[in-house]
Amino acid sequence: MSISRQALERMKEVIGGDKAVLAEILQSFIDEAEPLAESILSAARDGRLDTLGRAAHTIKSSARDFGDARLAALCADIELRSKQGSVSNAVACSQQIAQGCIALKEELAAYIGAEMNGEIP
């Protein structure tokens, strides 16, 4: 499990405790996850460091919000290195991030389902 219940509870508190709004935010990431993963992979393949860094930055923010510390750290590293202009293993790193992104998406979808079914207290 990558996501943190604690992080999601904190986000729920920030938005005023509205489960429907939380579900909308999570769904927004679910919708964006695959294009983001694709974007970071293609940027790494093509050596477009600017796009690579920005995509990593976006995923990093969401990963932190949802409590996925490992994915956030991977993104922070590649974002920093893309700013410095030296990403030696960009394709490999971006594949890890893309996989983490898709995994995070699936966990969030499962969380929404559980939330809707009342399985989450």
Partner: protein, 503 residues
């Protein structure tokens, strides 16, 4: 915080936009979100915004560019901004604050921090708005003081309405200014109205004296066997030529296509062709003093026409004034008709058409007048048009007067009538423009009095005590009618009056 703030979220990531907007909405604020810096600037220029939550890393126009654009725009530079940055990117936060951002928030903020920062920012914004508003109102008050200093006491020109609603020392000061100005303004307005009445009354007396001369002169001309249509032609031609010569010298003659010909045709028929021809015809049959008396009916008819056409505001006091004037005329008529012949009575009734023409002319001039043509030019064009109409009539009726090589009494009389008619028409038009048709209609009373006086002096006609008694009625009538109200803005009611109404 009870007040609802208007917050703009600028972030290219939809997930973050939704989170920030939901967080701000949860605090009770109104929120609008956009996905780029350009859209954010566009929204701020078109809508009031109290605070901006701005992402730094965005494609095309990033958060720094947005801040630079805001600080260089006087309309946006005072909107406070919180930049949203990652905890591991403090360099960006510092740079944003150096560019003018008020504060920064990490992307993974908690509810307490968010509430504290947003609400504190909004409180500061409201305090600053209140200070700016206060300063603007102080400037308005200073401007009002400048306006008062140059002697303009019209309260509606001071622009103190909004400041007077304040419940503080500034509001007290504005109310003191406004009330003092209103009192002075009302006093000045009454004074201006009194001066206008006096000046108008003097104008009426002069007009009456000049116009009163026409009836006895016409009577004298009939004694010299002058033909009425020939007389009317020469009087119109001479006065028309004088006015147009003046207008040509001043360059005020309009181009033919700019002249409202229909209007001038009606004006010429009422003001010269019909009225002057009738006057010269009746002058041979009726005493000049009787014609002068009949002319006073113009005042009553002018009021009746004005009230019917709603050209001027009728009122009970003005109506009573006109009735008093009419009462004076009836007193004279009662005295004059005692023992009058049937022929004299018939011509007297025909003469009633003369004041009817004058009254209709007065109303026409007051209700609609070509504004781009000066008074003297207007009179000149009317008189020349009348001469053009009268020429074939005089020729067809064999009433044309041909000037003799050696001018005599007839030529002198025609010249004097033309001079009187010209002066009276110009003054008549001037008074109508400045005092209104009803008040100017009161000139008929003075025409009557002057006509009687001229008849006594020039023709040796006799009068009795009834006529002098009727003058009292006429003077009282004139006082009650008064000039039309000044066309200036009414000041708002004074504070004292408003408070008195509320209690």
């Amino acid at each position: 915080m009870s007040r609802k703030g208007r917050i703009l979220v600028v972030d290219d990531t939809r997930t973050m936009r939704l989170k920030l907007a939901a967080a701000a909405t949860a605090l009770g604020h109104q929120c609008h979100s956009v996905g780029s810096g350009g859209e954010g600037l566009e929204y701020m220029r078109a809508n009031p915004v109290d605070a901006v939550l701005l992402d730094v890393v965005m494609p095309e126009m990033d958060g720094f560019d947005v801040l630079r654009a805001m600080k260089s725009d006087p309309a946006l530079r005072d909107i406070p901004v919180i930049v949203i940055s990652s905890l591991d990117d403090t360099g960006s936060a510092v740079k944003a604050i150096e560019l003018g951002a008020e504060d920064f928030l990490p992307k993974s903020f908690d509810a307490v921090i968010f509430r504290a920062r947003v609400n504190t920012l909004l409180e500061k914004k409201y305090v600053r708005d209140a200070e700016v508003d206060y300063l603007k109102q102080v400037q308005k008050l200073a401007r009002a003081a400048q306006i008062l200093k140059i002697g303009n006491y019209n309260p509606s020109k001071l622009g103190l309405g909004e400041i007077s609603q304040r419940h503080d020392a500034l509001g007290d000061l504005a109310r003191v200014f406004a009330d003092a100005a209103q009192k002075v303004y009302e006093r000045e307005r009454r004074l201006r109205q009194s001066i206008k009445t006096l000046r108008g009354g003097f104008g009426l007396i002069v007009l009456g004296i000049i116009w009163g001369l026409v009836a006895p002169l016409s009577r004298m001309a009939s004694g010299l066997e002058a033909h009425p249509f020939g007389m009317a032609f020469w009087v119109s031609l001479l006065s028309g030529v004088c006015c147009i010569a003046w207008s040509v010298a001043k360059g005020t003659v309009p181009k033919p296509r700019e002249i409202p010909w229909g209007y001038f045709l009606a004006y010429a028929l009422l003001g010269a062709v019909v009225s002057e021809s009738l006057l010269f015809i009746v002058a041979g049959k009726v005493e000049a003093s009787i014609i002068s008396i009949i002319i006073v009916l113009e005042g009553f008819l002018a009021f009746a026409f004005a009230a019917l056409m709603r050209v001027e505001q009728p009122s009970l006091s003005r109506f009573a004034g006109l009735l008093l004037g009419l009462g004076g005329v009836l007193v004279i008529l009662y005295d004059k008709f005692t023992g009058a012949s049937p022929g004299g009575l018939l011509w007297t009734i025909v003469a009633l058409a003369i004041p009817t023409c004058y009254a209709a002319e007065g109303i026409m001039l007051a209700a609609k007048r070509p504004e781009n043509i000066p008074t003297v030019t207007t009179v000149g064009m009317m008189q020349l048009l009348a001469a053009v109409i009268l020429l074939p009539i005089a020729l067809a009726t064999d009433q044309m007067i041909y000037p003799s090589a050696k001018p005599g009494a007839l030529e002198l009389t025609v010249f004097l009538i033309a001079a009187a008619s010209l002066s009276a028409n110009v003054l008549f038009l001037y008074l109508i423009n400045n005092l209104g048709s009803v008040f100017t209609g009161q000139a008929a009373y003075f025409t009557t009095v002057a006509g009687i006086g001229w008849s006594i002096v020039l023709l040796g006609e006799s009068l009795n005590a009834w006529i002098w008694a009727s003058l009292v009625f006429m003077a009282a009538g004139l006082f009650l009618v008064g000039p039309k109200s000044e066309a200036e803005a009414e000041p708002p009611p004074s504070l004292d009056a408003r408070e008195a109404r509320q209690t």
